[in-house]
Symmetry: C2
């Protein structure tokens, strides 16, 4: 009997998206595109003797936290567990950390507790839990897929359609703070949806890094999501001859190559992750 | 302008399959399941100044070879290139080396020659080329997907359906030699198809390593594909308390954990690859 299992889930920055509602959270979600990151989250699930699902605990970088979709996943699998995660990335700043915690918990818990679910079933459970909690619409399926995923059709893997930009790149980012995904998603989504559709058709037509970052920048502006600090930073990168955009949804700017360094910032550097989530 | 690009494509052992024909090779293929391997093929594509597609060359581990689907991919992309590959695995022994060469060429050539195709488009081109050449039916899509892929519906990524067994494991293998994929696929496929369908429904019902290897062993026997040496080896592993089966299609036996070592063989050891093909 296995006492613990660990899954690595890459971080995910969404460049642009359009939201899609459905009464079934495993069918709801988003279209859009983003980059998965070599910076990510290691999620370890341990048995938790004698307790029930409600007693499960989540510790992120040493601090106890409550992550609604993680609890939902453990309840759905009918297990009580101790979840310990180490993240290279901050929570709430547009890196898909809640999605990573949720998907990593599903993959690792299935292994520890021998739930015998398939990959698609686990991704579906994690995606549905995220959507239901309002903490994300597309991170989980993107993180399961890896690379530079394009979400052509919304929902979990049993209904969605995915493609990807077949490239890899160095990624730089600076983060100024959090934006509430729940608050943005609860706001006026009309401009977001219109801008998201336009951006997606541009990237489908030309699935390259350059068209992705360009489409993302136009999206951020037209969807009305830019904050002043983010706008200034993106402009600084443009002035230095680079291309940057905003992470959806966080007060975070990302660029390919050395875009932020060249503009005088001191970014964190990583790379696009060549693959999706994986059991360690 | 980029002069070269390299893609790594994991090896792939098919445990069981059923063949599906279609007049469109991108829709034909197979259902089944297998394991992708950390042992794989690095494929480097280099520009080849002044030549046309017919002048493209393929060198595998220092030897010039002709691989029909690789030529097809280069012609489809309209490029002339020098393809150099280094393989951890033998060609023709059931490890998906021809699929790896084909998919790796598509991914790397798209990058070098800036063809701006999407991931799905490249996988579709490589899959169709393999099917058309008769060198494989499911390796390319499995190698693009990674892990321990289940091919629920045949064809390229625009029409197929994939799932996976969410596990990882040490893999051991011994290879006694080649079997001709073309010859087997040209033979009587009725027993193969019937056994393949049964194996798939077993693994869909219980997507675990144990049910996969069990279903594969039953398939190899019922499809009438076991050679004497392969049968003896599988029996030796069973006698030693392990589980092994035959790689489709090669005179190769694979086992999880230390199955072959425990039975006194001197296998090569690697592991399931946690991800699909990736650009280096």
């Amino acid at each position: 009997m296995r006492e613990e299992a660990t899954a690595f889930v890459p971080g995910h920055i969404t460049g642009f998206f359009s939201a899609h509602t459905d009464t079934d959270p495993t069918k709801a979600g988003s279209r859009g595109a983003g980059v998965t990151l070599t910076d990510g989250v290691d999620v370890t699930v341990r048995r938790h003797a004698g307790a029930n699902a409600a007693d499960s605990s989540v510790v992120l970088d040493g601090e106890s936290i409550t992550v609604e979709p993680v609890s939902t996943v453990l309840e759905t699998l009918g297990v009580s567990a101790r979840v310990e995660a180490e993240a290279d990335l901050p929570l709430g700043a547009g890196f898909g950390v809640s999605g990573a915690l949720t998907l990593g918990t599903a993959l690792a818990a299935n292994r520890v507790f021998e739930r015998n679910l398939s990959w698609n079933e686990l991704v579906t459970i994690a995606h549905g839990a995220e959507v239901q909690a309002g903490t994300g619409l597309g991170d989980v399926v993107a993180q399961a897929y890896g690379g530079i995923p394009i979400r052509l059709e919304p929902g979990g893997p049993q209904v969605n359609r995915m493609d990807a930009i077949p490239e890899r790149a160095r990624v730089e980012y600076v983060s100024f703070g959090e934006l509430s995904t729940e608050a943005v998603l609860a706001g006026d989504m009309e401009a977001v949806t219109a801008a998201g559709k336009q951006a997606l058709s541009r990237v489908v037509e030309e699935p390259t890094l350059l068209s992705f970052i360009y489409a993302s920048r136009v999206f951020a502006r037209e969807a009305g999501l830019l904050t002043d600090r983010v706008k200034t930073t993106i402009d600084d990168v443009s002035d230095a001859g680079g291309q940057a955009s905003m992470a959806m949804l966080g007060e975070t700017v990302f660029a390919f190559g050395t875009g932020l360094s060249d503009a005088g910032y001191e970014p964190t550097a990583c790379a696009t992750h060549p693959a999706g989530a994986m059991i360690r």
